[in-house]
Symmetry: C2
Subunit: 514 residues, 2 copies
């Protein structure tokens, strides 16, 4: 599988159907797909096969940290003990040994679960799909965060859901805003089918829901009898601060049902603590919902791969040098690595984005959310950056169901690429950004940006004709922009406990947090 062959493949895939070809099939398409277009995620996935682009776009962990010797050893173990079972179909709900690993991961998250309430899925993505399949009729309401996981947006659209997005701030989803939305929906006689939230190191916002809000969210769900889909892929990838309880465990406590939540559907995955290539995630759900998820999965793919499930089971029986669980040791090594990379990205952003942007300071996970001058549309910027600079990111619009909000923001992955590429990637994006700002400046006659011209000034300027062609960015990222790092002259904001102060070196920060 040479690099050239990959590139060739990529070229072949670029041929899109001609208009007359499309017209022939258009009438046959379901309503759910008729308006569907290739999403930002599709482009991300395609980029993963191209070696010439620095991609800060994917939701990729760094899989080069996994020792090939261990991979070979574990696979040899599966081969020796159970080749025939690994190569065979497995039960739809997952193999018992894999479910036991999931219970172990959940315990590390401080959450006890009943193994009979777990279903193994083909990645966390399948949980989102199956939950929609189970609950969503066209026009049904889902309440989500704004911005939200870009990969959930096309799924919600495919089920023709009506998604209400609640702007998040530095403490995650504000529950008073959620309640206002629920009240408004109630007045319209509408009850959301579920509330979708990523409480830890939100994708793409990077923020974490506070404990007070978690407690209040569970109360609201119980008062109004609403299901919550808790998407928690990164909970164990915390680099600073204290872990917070899962919504699942808080609801189980409130329900008093001995470890089982009755309103929270929990989404977990091995993708970020081990490998996305295994395509293994899971849901923990109230039993009646679990039954439907299982039925949905039967129709979707029968079962998830026993080959990769048995790899996980073998992996979880590994010990570290001190006799502890090997998988926890690996997660700790990922934490140390990703913390360094996050801090390198902070530094690079300060150096190359400085006056023209602000960004969040996540305590964990994979992503930083950066918001640029409101005249910049990051979808256009991505095209420019890819073409001229060979660098990619997720444009902010991908995180909004309307496809218009978040236009001046971007999601940056700091976990999947080495430090040198982070620095170089951010440098390139910064250059593309300044190029575009310069162009905007010359069109409006305002001149390009100058050092010292701060974000507030740039944002406040009237854009004239070219700016009018850009959709407004202000609606999409206002809240988040308020809590992100501002130029040194600005005073620190209150009420943002995790906010990293710009005048503190990353190394000092790390010492304090450990």
């Amino acid at each position: 599988m040479a690099g050239g062959r990959q590139a060739g493949m990529d070229d072949r895939r670029r041929t899109r159907p001609a208009a007359h070809e499309l017209a022939r099939y258009e009438a046959l398409f379901a309503a759910r797909t008729r308006g569907m277009k290739s999403s930002a995620m599709r482009e991300m996935m395609a980029l993963t096969e191209r070696p010439d682009v620095i991609s800060l776009a994917g939701g990729l962990p760094d899989t080069s940290t996994f020792a090939p010797e261990l991979y070979a050893k574990l696979m040899a173990q599966v081969a020796a003990e159970s080749t025939a079972r690994a190569l065979q179909y497995g039960p739809t709900e997952g193999m018992a040994a894999t479910v036991d690993c999931i219970v172990e991961v959940m315990a590390q998250e401080g959450t006890l679960v009943d193994p009979s309430e777990v279903i193994v899925t083909t990645g966390g993505q399948q949980v989102i799909d199956l939950v929609c399949k189970t609950l969503i009729d066209p026009g049904d309401v889902i309440v989500a965060e704004a911005p939200t996981y870009p990969g959930a947006v096309p799924t919600f659209s495919a089920y023709q859901a009506d998604v209400e997005q609640i702007e998040i701030d530095g403490d995650g989803m504000p529950i008073d805003a959620l309640e206002s939305t629920l009240d408004r929906l109630h007045e319209q006689g509408r009850r959301p089918k579920f509330i979708y939230t990523i409480p830890n190191f939100q994708n793409p916002g990077g923020v974490t829901m506070s404990l007070a809000r978690r407690r209040r969210l569970v109360e609201v769900a119980r008062e109004r009898e609403l299901l919550v889909l808790e998407d928690n892929p990164y909970g164990l990838l915390r680099y600073d601060g204290e872990a917070l309880p899962t919504l699942y465990s808080l609801d189980a406590e409130a329900a008093g049902r001995g470890g089982s939540s009755d309103l929270v559907i929990y989404l977990g995955t091995f993708s970020k603590i081990l490998s996305p290539g295994l395509r293994l995630g899971w849901a923990v759900a109230p039993r009646p919902v679990l039954e439907k998820l299982n039925l949905g999965k039967q129709g979707a793919d029968l079962c998830s791969s026993p080959v990769t499930q048995m790899f996980v089971a073998a992996y979880f029986s590994e010990r570290d040098a001190h006799g502890g669980a090997g998988w926890i040791d690996y997660v700790q090594r990922l934490r140390d690595l990703y913390r360094e990379r996050r801090d390198v990205m902070f530094e690079a952003l300060a150096e190359h984005f400085g006056e023209h942007a602000s960004w969040t300071h996540p305590q964990g996970g994979l992503f930083i959310w950066a918001t640029l001058d409101p005249r910049i549309d990051t979808t256009d910027l991505l095209a420019l950056a890819r073409k001229n600079e060979g660098v990619a990111f997720v444009p902010g619009r991908a995180a909004y169901v309307d496809g218009r909000s978040g236009a001046s923001s971007m999601r940056l992955n700091f976990a999947g690429v080495p430090e040198a590429e982070i620095r170089e990637g951010i440098r390139r994006i910064g250059r593309a950004m300044r190029e575009q700002l310069g162009l905007l400046g010359s069109l409006t006659g305002a001149g390009g940006p100058t050092p010292g011209q701060d974000h507030a000034e740039t944002g406040g300027s009237e854009g004239g004709a070219p700016a009018e062609q850009q959709p407004s960015a202000a609606d999409g990222s206002a809240h988040l922009a308020d809590v992100v790092a501002l130029p040194p002259a600005c005073p620190p904001l209150r009420g943002v406990p995790f906010r990293v102060r710009r005048d503190e070196a990353p190394s000092a920060r790390r010492r304090r947090d450990r």
Copy 2:
């Protein structure tokens, strides 16, 4: 992963939600899942983890034929060359190296495909799901065979399709019956979204669509501009007779588009020629449809496992002892093994089902379709057989969307179990069948079945009260029953070219066919 643990898991899973628990969530479920119940396939999957049951139920190949040493070697190769890539996300459409293997398999099927029109999926099942996702709005029509693949039934139901099933005979789907159905639908102003067919060694019927019908089906599709979903998991598993061209290749020829069909969506899988545990299948589709399948897959599971995709790529580069393609050599070994097993099942059926049943004589694939005395409901028989005899099969109703037809038929898998288990399994089912017939006889006062009482007589008898409680079986399996093996006294039927004559020993048959 001890057997006991598996059994324990299985016990845990038996706890179903209580009625009051269900009521709480019922209002939240989507219309598509509200009426969904656990399907026969679910039970099949659960059975695969239980060692105490002889299961002739699953769609299982025999994965114990795959050498653990080769498994370990291939995985070590992937580890040495590309651990990081295997463990990472891959492109949604599949890895180029895996697509190349697919093109190679298709060539063996006598079908040239453009690699850019291939998408790698999470098993063949996902193709069915994605095609429905792309094309089916609630109430849309799918035309399928009767009986049809039991695993497609819940998928069609989940998309709320209106499925028209066309009774098959020994030559597969009769195209005149298809045309009558299409005419009737046309009068109602309805155009099917696609025609679903399994032309080779049909699941569950075991019959193969004749070349004349294949040609005519493609003509009809082109005349009426209809899409066809050609499900071909077993094409290469042919034990007797000559291979027939795929519908895809026939349509590509008719379209004159250099190897690309414009109306056939082809479904293939590595499950039956290599391993279902890899969860890798594929679709080849006209480009505008392919685009939508890709979008649907993004929302469903992002990509299929690179771990298993790279295993396939490594496997396909293996050579056999003579320098030929190792994978073809393995398929040849499967053919020899499954042919033997099929013939053992023929013998066991003649011995233990003899006078009370008839069955199809497939030239390939995994399944025999047996039709019993019409007073027997195989769904009830399955419960009895599992409980009293520790043996399982797929009840015929699972192959009908109405859940009522096919009630006296069953699908039997001869490929996945050793010869001794085939003999013992059929013996046990035969015993359960006779027990139930005896019970029916004593209830109606007609006495149990006696040797020499043939199928036609039993079928023609009036069943009285108990028979009335059973749904009619005649509608579901009449056509197939006509072409299956009848007791020795009956003359061979005409127009069934592949029909194996009962008076010919299996070994003689094999000599002739090779």
